[in-house]
C-alpha cells in the first residue's frame, strides 16, 4: 500500500487528517481514542502498518505524547490526535516538547467543553489553551483547518513546520470539520513538499542546543553516537542542566524568539474582500464557513464587509490586524466559544471588536454573524 493515496476522494475530515499525516511521512502514531478524534487514530492504525510504520495505542494521552516525543527523538515523524480532555492531559509533555525542541504534531479535534462536556458535538474553545495550556512561557504554532481538504493540507503543513522549527505543532480542528465528509484531492507524492529537521553536520564540536543563525539547533537522534543529553530542565547549549537565571534567560528567550522572529514566515491567513472593508470579520475553522456566508450576504446588502480567515491561529498574525485596523471601522470575530481569539484582536484594535460567541454544541449561525455585521455597519 502507498503512503500517499493520490486521487480524488470523498473523505471524512478526521480521515483526511490521517491521510495528510501519511503523505507528510508520518511513521509513528501514539494515541488514545477520544471522540471526535478517534477516526484519525483508527485510520492510522489501519494505514501505518501498510507502510512499515507503527501505531501504538498508549494507556492514556500523557503516555501518548511521551511516546510521540520518544519516537521523534529516535527520528520518527510522529503524531497524536485527541480532543479537549486529552489535550488537557498532554499539557505537561507539550512543555517538554517545547523545551527539548522535539518536532511532532498534535491534532485536537475540538468538542464542546469544559470537562467531558459534549463529546460528540463541536466547540472551538481550546484555542487559548493551545497557547497557554502548559506552564511557563512559550510560543505556540497552531493550524485551524476549515474543510476536509485542509485537514489533509494543514496536517502536512503542521509536520513541515514542526520539523523546521523543532517544536510540537498543533492542528486545532473541530468536531464539525472532523466529522464532515467532503471532496479531498490528494496530489502525487512528488507534488507534496516535505521538510525534514536540520541535522548536525559531522560530530566535531556539535552542541545539541547551540542554535544556528535562525535560532534553530540541528537535531541529533538517539543512536547516532553524539552521546547527547536532553532534559526538561533549563539547560545550556551542551544540553546540560544549569539552574540559574542567566541560562534560563538565554534558553527561554531563544525558544520564544525562534518563533516570534520567524512568525511572519509561519503565520498564514486568507482574505476575502478586505481591501475596502469597513468591517473585517476575523474567523477560523468551522465558524469561518458561517462567517464567509455572512460576509457574502452583507456585501449583497451593500455593507462593505470582508473576511480575514486564519490559517494559523498561533502565531497570531497581529501585524495584519494592525494594518487592517488602520482602515476598518470594526472587527467582528465569530468563534464557537465565548470569545477567545477575539481577545487577541482586541489587543490590536481595542474598543472596536465585536465578538460573536457560541457556547458550543453546534455550528455558529451565519445569521448571528450577519446581525453583528449589521449592528456595527449602522
Amino acid at each position: 500500500m502507498k503512503a500517499v493515496l493520490t486521487g480524488r476522494h470523498f473523505m471524512l475530515g478526521d480521515i483526511a487528517c490521517a491521510e495528510g499525516a501519511m503523505a507528510a511521512g508520518c511513521n509513528f502514531f501514539g494515541g488514545y481514542p477520544i471522540t471526535p478524534a478517534t477516526e484519525t487514530a483508527e485510520r492510522m492504525a489501519l494505514r501505518l502498518p501498510q507502510v512499515g510504520g507503527h501505531y501504538i495505542q498508549m494507556e492514556d494521552e500523557i503516555g501518548s505524547l511521551a511516546a510521540v516525543l520518544g519516537a521523534s527523538c529516535a527520528g520518527a515523524k510522529a503524531m497524536t490526535a485527541t480532543s479537549g480532555p486529552g489535550f488537557s492531559l498532554m499539557q505537561e509533555n507539550i512543555g517538554l516538547g517545547i523545551v527539548t525542541e522535539t518536532p511532532c504534531v498534535i491534532v485536537n479535534v475540538q468538542r464542546g467543553g469544559p470537562s467531558t462536556g459534549l463529546p460528540t458535538l463541536a466547540g472551538q474553545a481550546d484555542m487559548m489553551q493551545a497557547k497557554w495550556g502548559s506552564h511557563g512561557d512559550y510560543e505556540a504554532i497552531a493550524y485551524v483547518p476549515n474543510s476536509c481538504q485542509e485537514m489533509f493540507d494543514f496536517t502536512i503543513k503542521a509536520f513541515n513546520t514542526a520539523e523546521k522549527y523543532r517544536q510540537p505543532v498543533f492542528v486545532m480542528a473541530d468536531e464539525i470539520i472532523g466529522h464532515m465528509t467532503e471532496r479531498v484531492v490528494i496530489p502525487g507524492p512528488k507534488k507534496i513538499k516535505l521538510v525534514s529537521r536540520k541535522r548536525p553536520k559531522g560530530k566535531k564540536n556539535y552542541l545539541p542546543f547551540k542554535p544556528d543563525k535562525d535560532l534553530i539547533p540541528p537535531m541529533a537522534l538517539a543512536g547516532e553516537g553524539h552521546a547527547i543529553h536532553v532534559t526538561g530542565l533549563t539547560h545550556d547549549a551542551r544540553g546540560y542542566p544549569v539552574i540559574d537565571e542567566e541560562t534560563q534567560h538565554e534558553m527561554v528567550t531563544r525558544l520564544i524568539e525562534k518563533i516570534r522572529r520567524n512568525a511572519p514566515k509561519i503565520w498564514e491567513f486568507e482574505e476575502v474582500m478586505t481591501e475596502d472593508a469597513d468591517i473585517v470579520v476575523v474567523s477560523y475553522g468551522a465558524a469561518s464557513r458561517s462567517a464567509g456566508r455572512a460576509v457574502n450576504i452583507a456585501r449583497k446588502e451593500g455593507i462593505k464587509a470582508g473576511l480575514m480567515r486564519l490559517i494559523t491561529a498561533w502565531p497570531f498574525p497581529e501585524k495584519r490586524i494592525k494594518e487592517l485596523a488602520e482602515s476598518a471601522k470594526a472587527f467582528v470575530v465569530p468563534e464557537i466559544n465565548m470569545g477567545q481569539i477575539s481577545r487577541e484582536v482586541e489587543r490590536f484594535a481595542s474598543g472596536r471588536v465585536l465578538s460573536v460567541t457560541h457556547a458550543g454544541g453546534g455550528m455558529l449561525s451565519p445569521e448571528a454573524v450577519l446581525q453583528k455585521i449589521k449592528e456595527v455597519a449602522k
Binding site: 480524488r8 476522494h9 464539525i176 465528509t181 467532503e182 464557513r289 458561517s290 464567509g292 457574502n296 451565519p366
Partner: protein, 182 residues
C-alpha cells in the same frame, strides 16, 4: 439548482450515515458538483436516532450544515416524528412504509412511500434497505444521476457484496421510477 439539501434519518445500525456518504460521494466524485455530508446522532452506540445531511451544490459550499431539507428520507418513526415538519415547501418526503407511519403528516409536500425494508428482506438482507432507499431517491429526487450513484455504491460497499448492493439499488430505482410515473 444551486443548493439542495438531502436529509436521511433513521436509527443507528440502519446504515443511514453510509447512505449519506454514498450520495455525497456520487455527487462530489462522479458528478461535477460539490457535496458536503454531515451527521448527527445520540449518545447510543446502536439503536439511537441518527441523521445524515448531504448538501449538494453547483458552487463551493460555504455553510456546510443542513438547514431546511429539500429532500427528506426517513427510515424510522422517531426520525419522522422529529423531522417531518422542518422541510422546505417544495421539498419531497420519502419514507420507508414499513417503518414509518406518515399519517401525521399535514403539509402539502409530495410524499413517497418506499417499501425499502421489504425489498431488502426479499433480497435476503435487511441491512441493504438503505441502498434500496438510495435507488428510490435517485429515481424520484432530482439530485443525483443513476450512474454516479452506482459508481459510488461500488466504491463504498464491502468487497463481495457489490452484486447484492447493486441489485438493491436497481430495485429501489425501479420502484422509484414507477412511483413517479404513477
Amino acid at each position: 439548482m444551486s443548493r439542495k439539501e438531502v436529509r436521511i434519518g433513521g436509527f443507528g445500525g440502519q446504515g443511514i450515515i453510509l447512505a449519506g456518504f454514498i450520495l455525497g460521494k456520487a455527487v462530489a466524485i462522479y458528478e461535477k458538483k460539490e457535496a458536503v455530508q454531515t451527521q448527527s446522532y445520540g449518545p447510543e452506540a446502536r439503536g439511537g436516532s441518527c441523521l445524515a445531511d448531504v448538501i449538494i451544490s453547483d458552487e463551493d459550499i460555504n455553510y456546510p450544515m443542513g438547514t431546511v431539507p429539500d429532500v427528506l428520507v426517513l427510515m424510522s418513526q422517531d426520525a419522522f416524528n422529529e423531522n417531518h415538519d422542518k422541510i422546505a415547501d417544495d421539498a419531497i418526503l420519502i419514507v420507508d412504509e414499513d417503518l414509518v407511519d406518515a399519517s401525521a403528516f399535514r403539509k402539502k409536500n409530495k410524499v413517497f412511500k418506499a417499501p425499502a425494508t421489504r425489498i431488502a428482506e426479499e433480497l435476503g438482507k435487511k441491512i441493504v434497505a438503505n441502498i434500496v432507499m438510495l435507488g428510490f431517491l435517485a429515481a424520484v429526487a432530482d439530485v443525483v444521476s443513476h450512474d454516479a450513484m452506482k459508481k459510488a455504491i461500488l466504491d463504498s460497499v464491502p468487497k463481495g457484496t457489490e452484486d447484492l448492493n447493486l441489485e438493491a439499488f436497481e430495485k429501489g430505482y425501479e420502484h422509484g421510477k414507477n412511483s413517479v410515473a404513477n
